[in-house]
């Protein structure tokens, strides 16, 4: 479908597609198999200015529009969801700085991210706190003009590979979620180390690690916003990044649909390609329809955000829920169309199925997001009474 992208968006999408096809496709199976972080591709993406896409122009970026970022994530995910998230997690790591950071912080960090010379990550989740962000245990205690961090973050995308972390920690545990603050912690800060690298079902090219803080001191100027604003920064950050996860889901599904169509045309049973079977045709039709609906929603939400709208949290959640559930269905169906071959690692669809699963889970499980959407729906009705 024609989405009336502007010239820059077409350029961004086309180049991301070229990188995906020429550089990522030949490597994706190996990186998935070895659980290897895609440094080579990250370098290519940096050289191609892809890290500038999500950074505002004032900080050596190309505008920082949400739709542009979604287009890159979608194209990369079409080839490999794991590589795509290694890229996209940088945008997530930057969002607190872009929207809540001081001028000094932006000037210091954003150009480094824009050039791709330093990767970023966002650290919220702990063993006892994911969706329940108020239950964070990592503490940041003010001492001698700085903050001393103690605690462990879990499942942090780009953990270990990134050099700039935005970490959510409790500056005042007595206030619950109102006592959380966001801080920049750079790799190599004394007291900051990495725990085990997780072994995952999907997105295996990406790195997921524990961050361990033991009396890790950062200077006062590393506080993003003000003390106690950590929770609201987190909520706003993830609201903005959800269309990216949705775009990842759309890209994975697009890759799966294309593989399924190619296979269905090639695979001959009973003397005909299986694409001649109406059972298969209807599966393909449903996959294509669901996919296009998800894409349309994701692009609409991204454009809404780019228009400067403030009230997009619900729509962003809807896009993430809808696109990720769609991607799971489409990749499962792609495996089904491939039959026995689909279950084998020689073909790419089983990886897409594994990669799709995470999109239903991270940046808010689809269940917790449905709670939020339902709350908004009911609230709107109540307000009319």
């Amino acid at each position: 479908m024609e989405y009336f992208l502007d010239e820059q968006q077409v350029t961004v999408r086309d180049l991301a597609r070229r990188i995906a096809e020429e550089r990522i496709l030949p490597l994706r199976a190996e990186l998935d198999e070895k659980e290897e972080f895609p440094w080579e591709i990250i370098k290519e993406l940096a050289d191609a200015d892809m890290f500038r896409v999500f950074i505002p122009e004032e900080y050596e970026g190309l505008g920082g529009r949400c739709l542009d970022l979604c287009l890159v994530i979608e194209e990369l995910s079409r080839a490999c969801g794991g590589i795509a998230i290694s890229y996209a997690a940088n945008a997530l790591g930057c969002l607190p700085l872009i929207h809540h950071g001081s001028e000094e912080q932006k000037k210091k960090y954003l150009p480094q991210v824009a050039s791709g010379s330093r990767l970023t990550a966002f650290a919220l989740t702990e063993s006892t706190a994911g969706s329940d962000a108020g239950n964070i245990k990592t503490s940041a205690t003010r001492r001698d003009g700085g903050y001393v961090l103690n605690g462990t973050k879990q499942f942090i995308t780009n953990g270990g590979e990134a050099e700039i972390y935005t970490v959510i920690a409790m500056t005042d545990p007595s206030k619950g979620s109102r006592g959380a603050s966001a801080l920049v912690v750079e790799k190599d800060t004394p007291g900051f180390s990495f725990g085990k690298k997780e072994q995952k079902v999907g997105i295996r090219a990406s790195s997921t690690r524990e961050l361990v803080f033991r009396n890790c001191t950062v200077p006062e100027e590393n506080l993003i916003g003000r003390e106690g604003s950590g929770f609201i920064i987190t909520v706003r950050t993830i609201d903005r990044s959800r269309p990216g996860v949705a775009a990842q889901a759309v890209g994975i599904a697009q890759g799966a649909l294309e593989a399924a169509v190619d296979y269905a045309r090639k695979r001959v049973q009973f003397g005909h390609p299986i694409s001649a079977q109406q059972a298969v045709q209807h599966m393909l039709a449903n996959m294509a329809t669901d996919l296009e609906a998800a894409r349309a929603l994701v692009y609409a939400v991204a454009r809404n955000i780019d228009s400067g709208a403030k009230d997009f949290a619900e729509a962003a959640a809807m896009a993430k829920v809808f696109a990720s559930d769609m991607a799971m269905r489409v990749t499962l169906d792609a495996v089904q169309i491939f039959g026995g071959a689909g279950y084998m690692k020689d073909y790419p669809v089983e990886k897409m199925m594994r990669d799709a699963k995470i999109t239903q889970i991270y940046e808010g499980t689809n269940q917790v997001l449905r709670n939020a959407i339902a709350l908004d729906v009911l609230k709107r009705r109540a307000m009319r009474e």
């Binding site: 010239e7 820059q8 350029t11 961004v12 180049l15 070229r18 990188i19 020429e22 550089r23 290519e44 050289d47 191609a48 200015d49 892809m50 500038r52 896409v53 190309l62």
Partner: protein, 261 residues
């Protein structure tokens, strides 16, 4: 370091119609692209600029549409580009083409190195680079597979030759042709692509270059193509059937009969 890269726009692929041995016609198919071998020349030019500073300029002789290829070069990181474009240059053979490119290069700031791809995928001659060196009165190094060092006005490079590789030194300025082994061409960058969209490519005509018109185009070309045809490819082949053992035995018998083993 001042580098000039010569490049050509070629069809990505062609449709050739005609019966074997009969007169054929060639039609470009798909889009026009930078000659694949020239991608290595462009990449090496950009790397030299990154390594030694200075400037790198891409030049091409061709129709107005070849501007697109030069813009692609700019998107890759080539600083400047010039298109030599004039209807009277059409049908120039390699001698006439090398004459035109030489006059164009003489108009630019004197280069230290002129880099060409080893051949273009349409004509497949590989002649323009050495002939350009002659027209410029410069030394020439073909099939360069690695630039080792540039210092004291000399270039040390590896060349791919029949036996393997040679290490050769040449005094600069010089013309070189490069092979695919030399590098892996980069993809363009977003900023490069945006810059390329805005770039104005100067177009130089025959009068701009003060060309002797008797040396260009069909009149200036000593060679003429009198016929193009599709090669007779299939020597009626024979499929060897049976078990692997039997296939191998049949094959060896055939080869022994042909006295080739």
């Amino acid at each position: 370091m001042n580098v000039v890269v010569c490049m050509k726009q070629v069809p990505e692929s062609v449709t050739i119609s005609g019966v074997p041995q009969g007169t054929a016609s060639v039609r470009p198919q798909g889009k026009m692209v930078i000659n694949p071998f020239d991608m290595y020349a462009l990449e090496e030019g950009i790397r030299l600029k990154e390594r030694y500073g200075g400037r790198v300029t891409a030049i091409s002789m061709g129709p107005a549409e070849a501007e697109e290829a030069l813009k692609e070069a700019i998107a890759l990181g080539i600083g400047e580009a010039v298109l030599v474009c004039d209807p009277i240059l059409e049908h120039s053979d390699t001698l006439a083409t090398s004459y035109v490119l030489a006059r164009c290069i003489e108009r630019l700031e004197r280069p230290d190195i002129v880099i060409c791809g080893r051949q273009a995928t349409d004509g497949d001659t590989g002649q323009v680079a050495p002939q350009l060196a002659e027209q410029l009165g410069l030394p020439f190094l073909s099939y360069v597979s690695r630039i080792e060092d540039i210092s004291d006005g000399r270039l040390t490079a590896q060349r791919l030759v029949d036996e393997g590789h040679q290490v050769v030194q040449v005094s600069l300025p010089a013309v070189i042709s490069v092979v695919k082994e030399i590098n892996e061409p980069r993809l363009p960058s977003l900023r490069g692509l945006m810059q390329a969209k805005k770039a104005e490519i100067p177009r130089w005509t025959a009068p701009d270059l003060g060309l002797d018109v008797s040396k260009v185009g069909l009149d200036g070309s000593p060679t003429r193509v009198v016929n193009v045809f599709v090669p007779q490819r299939s020597q009626q082949g024979q499929m060897l059937e049976g078990s692997p053992e039997s296939q191998v035995d049949q094959l060896l018998e055939k080869l022994r009969d042909a006295k080739v083993i």
